[in-house]
Symmetry: C2
Subunit: 335 residues, 2 copies
């Protein structure tokens, strides 16, 4: 019989998929499932699928104790346990996700903004373990951001601080799902670079392979591959993206003085294609004092793991404060 | 005989003058002196004048106990006790100001960045007493900034965070003393609005009173007066300034979610001339969720008092940690 350990469920809700995992309290992902976000007409369809996924994972951990659920999500208000006005999710205006999951599973459930989830995961289990000031940017469907200053996540007066994706970076720029124009995430995200490729395809009427892919089919991964194969449009798209990102990061340095930026999410998997021109742009823009001092790093955790481990860590952190855990499968003491 | 109270010396170093005051531990300014910054060829001339000013103030407090000195300054590295590369001060590259004052007065001396000094003062004695998230902007010769998040001043990895004045806001914009171009403080500060007036005088060759004032003579106060008298150039200069400021503030809201912004310093004395168009620009740019929720306030303290009270408060805060105070004028116990 295996040793019995405390487990938590970590959930990372994103525009493309929801990742659900069983996590042990030393930051190991025991088992995970992906739930693609397409095909749901409304949140109830989505929640039925999410319930099944969670139940499937719980049922496989027969002899262990599940202490609770931690959720990372965009557009959420953690204090109220709701997701609100999420442009990239198949949800109505306001979804009481914490209450929905607590009712279904009878487990204490915690909610945190996606960017903060990634920052928490990187800080507890990743490369930011010994850093007191760092910023995590998750470049996926949108741009998530978590800012740690003085060793604390900046939460703000309304609990939703760190919405870097909606900093305006271009006057009358691209239309954003938030209803405004020129937000950073319309340029810097997996979706943003796709928009840039289509803008460049319109700009440069020169024969190249990207002309044979639809907007719906194009992915950040496909753009990376094209860039590595020397595709002019794809390479230019990375430079364009990196300029927006590097300039914004230089400004963030004067505000926060992070020891490092972490770039995570689908677009960050492009590696040097993105990191190198971003670093170059940032360095060019930094005040003299900061030149050569600020790191840009990939997450030290596997793809998206920080965004799952962060929310899961809330379960242990709050273990004794919210209400006692429910031991569904084992009645012995394991603590 | 008066009751003997604990006093501290608060010093606010700015591009135009150094303010020195004797402060009591309930945040009252007992007595103050201004030391204009012009006429000093180097830092030693300056320090001789500063020593005299401090000594003059100390000598008038015969029966009270001076516990220490707190200094607020631009371009400083508090941890090292130095002012470094201060473009607006008559100093060499690096000045060990803490050691210089401790040697001269044998009093424990503390240093804090000017913007953080104002934030500390406003938070301890002003209108931000009950706020955990707020931002103070001091619009003087340059633009100072202090950011309080989660009830703490954000200091950053190198101790100089919050340099909002050097956020780049315009590509190839105005030359900044920091060696770069387009920094916010070249537009939004007492100097910035003066530069704007001269740009507008060049742009609009129409007869008006500001054409009879030299660049050296023009002040933010003079521009305010002209604007109140209906001067077109002056009014346009305020709108132009407020647009840069309001846009930047809207972006800061997404990052920090401050409960309020405080505008202080010489330019802020223009009141509604600055506040009203700044609020309008900010509100237009805010994400829907924040509209109508973020305050823009003047300092609740008298002109520049926050920037003196903040550093002075460091003396009491550190009273028992650095080294015991020196009672120069009274040997009895007063604590």
């Amino acid at each position: 019989m295996n040793q019995i350990v405390d487990l938590a469920i970590g959930i990372d809700i994103g525009g493309t998929s929801t990742k659900v995992a069983i996590v042990s309290n030393d930051g190991q992902i025991i088992e995970r499932q992906h739930l693609p976000m397409n095909g749901f007409d409304n949140e109830w369809d989505y929640f039925q699928a999410l319930f099944s996924t969670i139940r499937f994972l719980i049922n496989k951990q027969r002899s262990d104790k599940i202490l609770g659920i931690g959720i990372g999500s965009p557009s959420c208000i953690p204090e109220r346990g709701i997701i609100k006005g999420a442009a990239n999710l198949p949800f109505s205006e306001e979804v009481e996700i914490v209450q929905i999951l607590e009712t279904e599973f009878n487990l204490p459930t915690y909610l945190i903004k996606d960017g903060n989830a990634a920052a928490l995961g990187e800080g507890k289990f990743g490369a930011a373990k010994n850093m007191s000031n760092f910023i995590v940017l998750t470049l996926g469907t949108g741009l998530g951001c978590g800012i740690v200053a003085n060793n604390q996540i900046i939460r703000g007066h309304f609990g939703q601080a760190g919405e870097l994706g909606h900093a305006t970076v271009k006057e009358n720029g691209r239309n954003c799902a938030c209803g405004r124009k020129g937000c950073l995430e319309t340029y810097v995200s997996a979706t943003g670079i796709k928009r840039t490729v289509f803008q460049l395809l319109a700009d440069f009427d020169i024969k190249n392979e990207l002309q044979d892919i639809t907007y719906s089919q194009l992915t950040a991964k496909r753009i990376s591959e094209a860039a590595l194969n020397g595709n002019f449009i794809a390479q230019k798209a990375f430079t364009y993206t990196a300029q927006f990102l590097g300039k914004k990061m230089a400004n963030l340095v004067t505000l926060f003085e992070p020891e490092a930026f972490f770039l995570a999410g689908g677009l960050a998997e492009a590696g040097d294609l993105l990191f190198q021109p971003t670093m170059e742009t940032m360095e060019n823009r930094l005040m003299r004092f900061y030149k050569g001092k600020i790191k840009i790093l990939p997450s030290a955790l596997k793809t998206n793991e920080a965004a799952i481990l962060g929310p899961a860590s809330l379960v242990w952190k709050n273990q004794h404060s919210k209400r006692s855990s429910i031991n569904r499968f084992h009645l012995g003491m394991v603590e």
